[in-house]
Every structure is written in structure tokens, then in C-alpha cells.
């Protein structure tokens, strides 16, 4: 028998729209028949949900939902693992993919019937396309791919899902699992990420993936240098983009002896001098303030005062929603460098919070 024919349809009920002219008791869909009305299920006694004596957070289940799950309860109790049970489980999943037990039981049936796991992979692909942000569907896929020990279609599949929503957390998490679990899958990942960043430079998930890839490759100084230039370019395209600035700060974690800080500092100063006032630029300039705490050199004092001015500008002009935050940063700087006399005090009135 062709295994594909055994693979059940994802949905036996194509729409929720009620067909009011249909007299049959089928919950609104003309070709859907309730399990209780199916001759091939006559031998099974449905099991109603047992809520006990008290009624709490009841749900007004549709007739169809109760019907499917009453029969699901019956077969999981009897332990039936058959093709019709698989079809029933498929219906149950369509109605509620967030039910852990249906997935566990489905896998039991699939293994018992020795269903071709490639067909099951096709099935779960379709379910994920419909429920892209459900946890259980991705976990089930993981189970199947682990058993197949074949990740060959996984990067393409997650790319398809990310095409629907390039920030889908589930898809990214799964993609990382594939990459870390199976070797040789990271090779083209930087190109993939680069495409996504080109499509949407604000895609923070793609920036995170970039860091994930670079970090995994144990980068040498040349790689980090290349990344620094890449990030500078992207920041210049959109200086307000927090994702790129966070990435830049992440690269600084690879710095040795302040070499990267010097490059970033030069880049930031140039941007600032050109008149750019992105809040992330100003914030970065404040962080780069690095003078000997006990220095009394005039130049160093001026540096500290410049940082205090940036805090004040952020608080009152460029980032007023975080006025309290910048007041706090400013007072930290004041205390650290013992500079109490300056023109950049940030006053927080009581009602300003």
C-alpha cells in the first residue's frame, strides 16, 4: 500500500463557516460527519470529559470538538493504534494542537503502524504552516527529524516559515537546534542571515542569528574586523537601529587591549561630528568614556563633562521617555569621577515618573 495514501489529510473540515441550510447534525460543514454518526466507529463508546462535581473555567466546546475528543478519550483508554485512530488524532490536532497528549499518542500510533517517517515529516510541515507559533508542533518535528536522523530539508523548511514571519521565535530556535545538532549545516548561514538583514535591517532575530553563527565559528581578529565594518555600514544606513548597535557592542566582547574600542570610538565620533544624534550613538559614546578615575588632566575632565552633556541631551531632547534612566546614568558618572560642578544637571521632579 502506498504510504502516502495512509497519510491523513491535515483538515477534514475546511472551514468554520456555517451552512445553515444543511439539516444534518454536522456542525455546519456539509461533508463533515460527526464520529458518533460514522458507521465505522459504531463499536466505540465515546468517553465524555469528566470535570468532577464542580464546574470551573468551563469552555463552551463546539459539538464537533466534544465529539472528536470524546472519541479520542475512548481510543487512548482502549489503547487502539490503528489507521482510523490516526485519522481521529489528526482531527483532534487540527482542533487543538496545544494538547500535549494527542502528540504523544500520535507518535505511538505512527511508530506502531510503522508509518514512513518522511510522510510524517510532510504532515508536520503542513501543520506547522498552519500553526506557526505553537510549541508542540515544533517539538514534534524535532522528534521526527531526530528519529530520521536526516536534517537535509530543515534549513529550507525553516526558511519557508521565516518567509511568513522573519521574526518567528519558534522557527529560529528550531533552526539553531538543527544547526547545533547536525554538523555541516552552518556553512551558508551567514549568507542566509545577510539576505534577511538586507530585506529588513531592523530584524533583530537575524542580527542575533548573525552573532550565533560568528560566535560558533571561534572567530579570529580578521573575522571580527570584517564584522565591525559590516556593522558600521549597516548603522550608517539606519543610525536609529538598536539591533545593529547591540551587535556592535556584542563585537566589543571580542576586544583585546582596547583595539576595537578605538575603532568604534573613531566611528562614533565621526558620526556625531556629522550631526547625527541617534540615541544609540549617544549612549555608545557615553559607554566609551574611559579615563583614569583619578585623572585631573584637563582633557580627561572635559571628556567626563562631555559624557554628562550627552546624558543631559538624551534626557531632555533625544530620549525624553528615559529621562529618569539618563539622570541615573549621569549621577553614576558624577559619583565615579567626583565631578559635582557642571552645567548638565538633570532635574527629576516627583511627578515626572
Amino acid at each position: 500500500m502506498d504510504d502516502r495514501k495512509k497519510s491523513p489529510e491535515l483538515k477534514s473540515d475546511s472551514s468554520d463557516s456555517a451552512d445553515e441550510t444543511d439539516p444534518s447534525r454536522n456542525n455546519g460543514c456539509s461533508n463533515y460527519v460527526m464520529y458518533r454518526d460514522r458507521p465505522e466507529w459504531k463499536d466505540v463508546q465515546p468517553v465524555a470529559q469528566d470535570d468532577g462535581p464542580a464546574q470551573v473555567v468551563r469552555i463552551a466546546y463546539s459539538e464537533k470538538f466534544s465529539d472528536v475528543f470524546d472519541y479520542f478519550r475512548a481510543i487512548i483508554k482502549s489503547g487502539e493504534k490503528s489507521e482510523r485512530a490516526l485519522n481521529l488524532v489528526t482531527d483532534a490536532i487540527t482542533l487543538n494542537p496545544a494538547n500535549y497528549t494527542v502528540w504523544i499518542y500520535r507518535l505511538e500510533i505512527v511508530l506502531y503502524l510503522k508509518i514512513d517517517l518522511h510522510n510524517e515529516l510532510d504532515y508536520i510541515s503542513n501543520v506547522i504552516r498552519e500553526f506557526t507559533k505553537n510549541y508542540q508542533v515544533w517539538q514534534y518535528r524535532k522528534n521526527i527529524v531526530e528519529m530520521l536522523n536526516d536534517p537535509s530539508g530543515e534549513l529550507e523548511f525553516t526558511a519557508d516559515i521565516l518567509d511568513l514571519d522573519a521574526k518567528n521565535y519558534h522557527a529560529w530556535q528550531y533552526r539553531q537546534w538543527v544547526i547545533t545538532t547536525f554538523s555541516n549545516l552552518i556553512e551558508n548561514e551567514l549568507n542566509f542571515v545577510d539576505d534577511l538583514i538586507s530585506q529588513d535591517i531592523r530584524n533583530n532575530s537575524a542580527w542575533n542569528q548573525r552573532y550565533f553563527v560568528i560566535n560558533m565559528s571561534n572567530p579570529n581578529a580578521d573575522v571580527i574586523d570584517k564584522e565591525l565594518k559590516y556593522t558600521f555600514d549597516k548603522i550608517q544606513i539606519l543610525t536609529k537601529n538598536e539591533s545593529a548597535w547591540n551587535y556592535l557592542r556584542g563585537l566589543l566582547l571580542y576586544s583585546e587591549n582596547g583595539i576595537l574600542e578605538d575603532k568604534v570610538s573613531t566611528f562614533c565620533t565621526q558620526l556625531y561630528d556629522k550631526g547625527n544624534r541617534s540615541i544609540h550613538l549617544l549612549s555608545c559614546l557615553i559607554d566609551l568614556l574611559d579615563v583614569d578615575v583619578n585623572s585631573t588632566e584637563l582633557e580627561d575632565v572635559e571628556k567626563v563633562k562631555f559624557a554628562l552633556k550627552l546624558c543631559s541631551d538624551l534626557a531632555s531632547v533625544y530620549d525624553p521617555i528615559r529621562r529618569s534612566y539618563w539622570a541615573y546614568i549621569s549621577s553614576n558618572i558624577e559619583n565615579k569621577y567626583s565631578i559635582k560642578e557642571h552645567d548638565f544637571k538633570i532635574v527629576i521632579s516627583n511627578g515626572n515618573n
Binding site: V47, I104, R249, R322, S324
Partner: protein, 347 residues
């Protein structure tokens, strides 16, 4: 623009309705009805509205929750023990050879305990040893916890739930705390916040799970040195955008993050660095004046989770008429104090 007004009575009604009957679209919560119960009761407690339920209703709820407890038996190994999220497959309880399909879930156990404490139950009917051994069986070698025993997924959400259970039951001797801390630490990212798993994108929800977990263990400083605290604080205050909070950079704000990030900052002692007025306006502008309740944003309808977490967020920033919450356990301070009493009694 006039300041939005806070109308607590509407939200009490919303929760009381949710406790009784949910519409058919809520069938996706069939397997986790306990979560709705949790959000409704914690929300009502914040609104000071638990008394309106009446003693017999409270008793009914307590009994309903206890029915979901799985205790060790010939047909229930200890690693399946704890609480289920609903009655969906309760008929398998104590049925021979069905333990694979009838098991607890660590998020449900956490919420069940919070509900019981909130309703004034003394947890005397919780099989503590079984719950704790059940939680321990979910810990993986990397220190993380799975949601449930059979094929459960693992991430910071379940680390938090597991540690909260140990905190509530006042016993973390069954789990490997050091490995859990190591896992949390491995989820810390280059941008200063936490992803659900090592390497995944920083997120407001997972950041809360990490910080609340560390706070429950009293280990905040062992993972966050001064520099890490500083960048985490910046990441968290930067999530405030258009008044409300977003869960990740360059995403739209959503009312639930007023709790996830508000509580994170509150635990770190940094909540005063946000703009509370604008956060309040954002949350209150997402209240529904017809049905009661809060939605995640203007394009959505209210749901119990966003309603509860909106109230938690408002409570954190000192909204009048709301009871204060304990940001690490996410129950009211009143309930947390009652929990302390139970714990002292059992010592």
C-alpha cells in the same frame, strides 16, 4: 489627550465570567484550563476581588485543582507526579498502562500551587515529595528543565516554573541548583538579556524567567556582575517604546511586557528608571470598556493572560486600588506572606 481612567469593577466582572464559562474559541486552552484559572484568580486577588467569589465557590475551585494532582501509585510512576493542566484525559488517572499519556506538566504544577496559596489553602494535600521528585526527573544534564516527561521541550520557562515550585515547597534538595544556574547563565546574550535557550534571541519573557529564577535562588549577583547588570538594565529600559513595552528590539509594544519587563526591573531595583506615566497610559488604553479585560494591543480582543499581566504591570508601578504583587513568584504580596506562614508552620 485626557488621562485614561482605571475601572477595576469591569475587570473583576471579566475575570468572574472567565471563571464560569469561556467561549468556544477558547477550546485551544482545553488542555491548559488551569492557566486561565491562574490568571483569573491572581488578577482578582490584585483587584482585591477574591471575596466576591464566596467561600463555597473558592472551595469548589480548590477541589477542582486538587483533582488534577497525580500522586504515586501502581499506575503512576513518581516522575509523572504533579498537576495536570486540565481534565482532558483525567479518565486515564489510575488506569493501568496509561501513565505515558496522563502526566503532569511543570508549568501547571507551578500555577496549581499559586492558585491554592492564593485561595488560602495550606497545601497539606499536595504530595510534596512526589511533586519535588517529579520536578527533579525533568531536569536535563545541561541544567534546564522539560515541561513534561514524555518528549517535553525545555527552556527557561520551565526552569523558572521548576525553581518556583521548589521555592513554594521550600525544598530544592531534589534538583541540581548549580546546573540550573549554569544553564541560566548560558542563556545570557551579547546584548545584555536572556534568550529561551543558549544562543536564542533575547526576549522579555525569557529575561523575566531568568531574573525571577535567580532572585528566588538569591543568586542574582552570582550570574550578573556589575557590568552585566548595567547592560541588562539598559536593554530592559530600552524596551519601553511609545509608552508600552516590547518583548524584543524593533517589535511592537504589548501589554504583557509591562509585567515581564516591569517585574524584571522591579527585582533588579531599577523600576524607577522607566516612564511610569506613559507605561500606565499604554496599558489603560488597551482596556476594553465593554467587556472588561485588557488586550495585548489595539488590534486584539481581551484575554485572561493579558488582563492579568496588565494588572500586574499596573500594580508594579503603584496604581491605586491595586494590591501589590511579589514580582518573583507573581502572586500578590498578601498571598506570598500567607505562603511564608505555611512554610514556617511546616518547619
Amino acid at each position: 489627550m485626557t488621562k485614561p481612567e482605571f475601572k477595576p469593577e469591569q475587570h473583576k466582572k471579566y475575570f468572574r465570567r472567565s471563571l464560569d464559562l469561556l467561549p468556544g474559541e477558547s477550546a485551544v486552552f482545553d488542555y491548559s484550563r488551569l492557566t486561565i484559572l491562574y490568571f483569573a484568580l491572581i488578577g482578582l486577588d490584585i483587584l482585591d476581588g477574591l471575596d466576591s467569589l464566596g467561600d463555597s465557590r473558592k472551595k469548589d475551585i480548590v477541589e477542582w485543582v486538587y483533582r488534577l494532582q497525580l500522586v504515586p501509585s501502581d499506575h503512576c510512576p513518581v516522575h509523572k507526579c504533579g498537576f495536570m493542566g486540565s481534565t482532558t484525559v483525567i479518565h486515564l488517572k489510575n488506569h493501568p498502562n496509561r501513565d505515558k499519556f496522563c502526566e503532569s506538566n511543570v508549568a501547571m504544577t507551578y500555577m496549581a500551587l499559586c492558585i491554592l496559596v492564593t485561595l488560602g489553602d495550606d497545601l497539606s494535600r499536595v504530595d510534596k515529595s512526589a511533586v519535588l521528585r517529579g520536578v527533579a526527573s525533568l531536569q536535563k544534564p545541561d541544567g534546564s528543565f522539560k515541561s513534561n516527561y514524555e518528549h517535553g521541550e525545555s527552556d527557561l520557562r520551565f526552569v523558572y516554573c521548576s525553581l518556583a515550585i521548589c521555592n513554594i515547597l521550600d525544598d530544592s534538595s531534589t534538583i541540581n541548583v548549580n546546573n540550573a544556574i549554569k544553564f541560566i547563565s548560558n542563556c545570557f546574550n551579547y546584548d545584555g538579556a536572556f534568550g529561551q535557550n543558549p544562543g536564542t534571541e533575547s526576549h522579555g519573557g525569557s529575561t523575566y524567567c531568568a531574573i525571577a529564577s535567580l532572585s528566588l535562588l538569591d543568586q542574582l549577583n552570582s550570574v550578573l556582575d556589575e557590568n552585566k547588570s548595567k547592560i541588562l538594565e539598559r536593554w530592559a529600559v530600552n524596551r519601553q517604546t511609545n509608552g508600552g513595552f516590547q518583548g524584543r528590539p524593533n517589535k511592537d509594544p504589548d501589554t504583557c511586557y509591562s509585567f515581564w519587563l516591569g517585574a524584571t526591573l522591579s527585582i533588579m531595583g531599577s523600576l524607577n528608571r522607566i516612564n511610569k506615566d506613559r507605561n500606565r497610559d499604554f496599558v489603560l488604553n488597551n482596556a476594553n470598556f465593554i467587556t472588561g479585560g485588557f488586550s495585548k494591543n489595539m488590534d486584539s480582543i481581551p484575554d485572561p493572560m493579558h488582563t492579568c499581566l496588565s494588572l500586574c504591570g499596573l500594580s508594579l508601578i503603584g496604581e491605586e486600588k491595586l494590591n501589590p504583587i511579589n514580582p518573583s513568584l507573581n502572586i500578590t504580596v498578601r498571598a506570598a506572606n500567607y505562603l511564608k506562614q505555611i512554610q514556617l508552620r511546616n518547619m
